[in-house]
Symmetry: C2
Subunit: 341 residues, 2 copies
DNA sequence: GTATAACTGAGGTGCGCACCTCAATGCAAG
DNA sequence: CTTGCATTGAGGTGCGCACCTCAGTTATAC
């Protein structure tokens, strides 16, 4: 037999096609005995469902939605591009992807937006938004309405019943710590730490991971308190100037936020910081170029293309009531140097 | 219109379904005018083929084959597992994957094996085998017989018409060089380099990449001539002992080969090499454990799971006469530290 | 025992497309 | 004009499965 079909399966199991269908699709009104006979026959003849036929017969269009921030810099742009790429590629797979750009830092607005998503119009939602109790509740309600949720690349407390796509930020921070610690060697010194804002849970976790490694493994180094740029170029220059004046042995800088353009520009322009080792997060056109030209020394990244595709695969699996393949969906913490860009 | 079908397309283009079919599948006997009308209608109504229906109608089973070495250590095992995983997952996608394990280091045997592959029984072949003129010819002949070839993770000269899955080994070596160079700091010292054999093109390219970085960027370090273990534990211990006796300032070790168990064990056991920085290639249960326990300092890796899935996607695309999505198929050179394992 | 619920089988339809046949039309060369 | 070939349309079949209906059967409760 070339490739057994459901009909062959029915024959092998000694039941009718209708019963095979009931078993395969978990429909009610099947006796334990019939179910067992079908299961055994599946093993015996090596029946494997033809997913193409399933998809065609179901004739279901999967509708997934990405909820992303409305403002950001290059990293957000990168992400949007990856989503629209995936959207194009997956159209032929009966999958339609839409993007909502929301002021995700306004919990009220975000919650309202999530509440307005209709169960009928969407099978899964991937949300990238900062932590807040209100948002967490809105996400829970979303799931209770039967919409599959993916917490996407963002620093929310993990909801037990939701899937998560992204890296462990504590580990990412620890990785940055290891890199900086090893790159600096044995001489003592201080490490400047810069973030857009320390309200973001991502940054907090990275900072904790970073500190844990520096304190344990590199006690001769000292990580300074986090500076916050609030995404403002001149403020960044000012606070960095201030720190440099107060500390004369700054040997490294670690940028916690995914958008590194503003802090790195400020650092590069400061005369006293030409020789510091700089580590940032996320690959963007800016950080890539900075790594090439030596303005920074390493990037800790998570591939946004992988992340998007992974989120879609997970939502797709959930929509089909399957479990995602965990091993395949793990997003790696990448360490990028000039040589492996 | 929910989702336009070929019938809708025919209507919009003002032609028959038969002509639409001819255009969509590049069949002969279509006038330029008809073809243009269909193309325009595709744009106009946003027609996208339903791949599930295509797959079902074609009812074609894709048969792909991996040709892998018959002997190896943990890295080979890892690879075999990933292939069999993919094989299981893809059965429902009408894709059957088989594995041939051949003494790939015997060009004659390998060539004969490749020559024996029938066009009828296989749509694509992924070959992992070392360089040799005879093998290269056999691969060319394979392609001329219409079988799609993927050069898989191996150090062959790239054939222009074949696809390649794997990393740039020169860059991988350079990355190792950068890591070791930065980890060692400014003090001068020597770097021991170990390989199973330097006949393998992978090792040669890595060595070249490594040297280029060390020589240019870290001139105070010196990379010693490559040692060859030939996969023999006692020989490894002996040659390493020999090198240690002749050089008293060895500060790092770099293992070129994918199988690192034997050289790293020898290094760990040597009293004078307890503090050297060790960098190896490929993640295996052994190298992972060694990184965790601090016996090695970094792993330069390429994810075998990704590689396998990528090879399959490429063979699938070629079998459908599509082009693979290059951006998605690029295998990254990963830098693994204890923190981002 | 009977009433009821739980199960089972037979059969049909349709998903969107590939692939095939056959007849009909157009067009150019001679 | 005829011959021959390229082009086009109409129509049909089948891929493997989901989903539906309805009649018939078996187990269970009372």
């Amino acid at each position: 037999m070339i490739r057994p079909t459901a009909k062959d399966l029915a024959e092998a199991a000694g039941v009718s096609l209708a019963t095979v269908d009931r078993v395969l699709n978990d429909r009610p009104n099947v006796s334990a005995r019939a179910s067992r006979k079908v299961q055994e026959a599946i093993e015996k003849i090596g029946f494997v469902r033809n997913l193409a036929a399933v998809a065609l017969a179901r004739n279901k269009i999967y509708r997934f939605r990405f909820v992303l921030p409305s403002k950001g810099d290059q990293y957000l742009l990168e992400l949007l591009q990856r989503v629209s790429e995936a959207s194009r590629t997956l159209k032929s797979d009966l999958t339609e992807i839409t993007v909502d750009q929301i002021a995700t830092d306004d919990p009220y607005q975000l919650s309202r937006h999530l509440a307005a998503i209709e169960t009928e119009e969407v099978d899964g939602v991937a949300v990238m938004a900062p932590e807040s109790p209100q948002v967490r509740d809105a996400l829970s309600r979303l799931m209770m309405r039967g919409i599959h949720l993916v917490q996407f690349l963002s620093g929310q407390e993990k909801l037990k019943t939701a899937d998560f796509v992204g890296v462990d930020n504590f580990a990412a921070g620890a990785t940055a710590g290891r890199i900086i610690g090893r790159f600096l060697g044995n001489e003592p010194g201080k490490i400047m730490i810069v973030a857009e804002t320390m309200v973001a849970r991502d940054s907090i976790e990275r900072r904790r991971g970073f500190d844990s490694i520096i304190n344990e493994q590199f006690p001769h180094l000292r990580a300074l308190p986090s500076l916050e740029t609030y995404g403002d170029q001149s403020r960044a220059a000012a606070i960095i100037q201030n720190v440099v004046e107060r500390h004369h042995d700054i040997r490294a800088a670690y940028v916690l936020s995914p958008e590194s353009r503003i802090p790195v520009s400020a650092i590069s322009q400061h005369a006293d910081l030409q020789k510091v080792t700089v580590v940032v997060h996320e690959r963007t056109p800016f950080s890539e170029e900075a790594l090439r030209t030596g303005r920074i020394d390493a990037i800790i990244a998570q591939d946004p293309g992988h992340a998007v595709r992974s989120a879609v695969r997970i939502m797709r699996a959930r929509a089909d009531l399957r479990d995602p393949i965990a091993a395949q969906e793990k997003i790696r913490i990448e360490v990028l140097l000039k040589e492996n860009l």
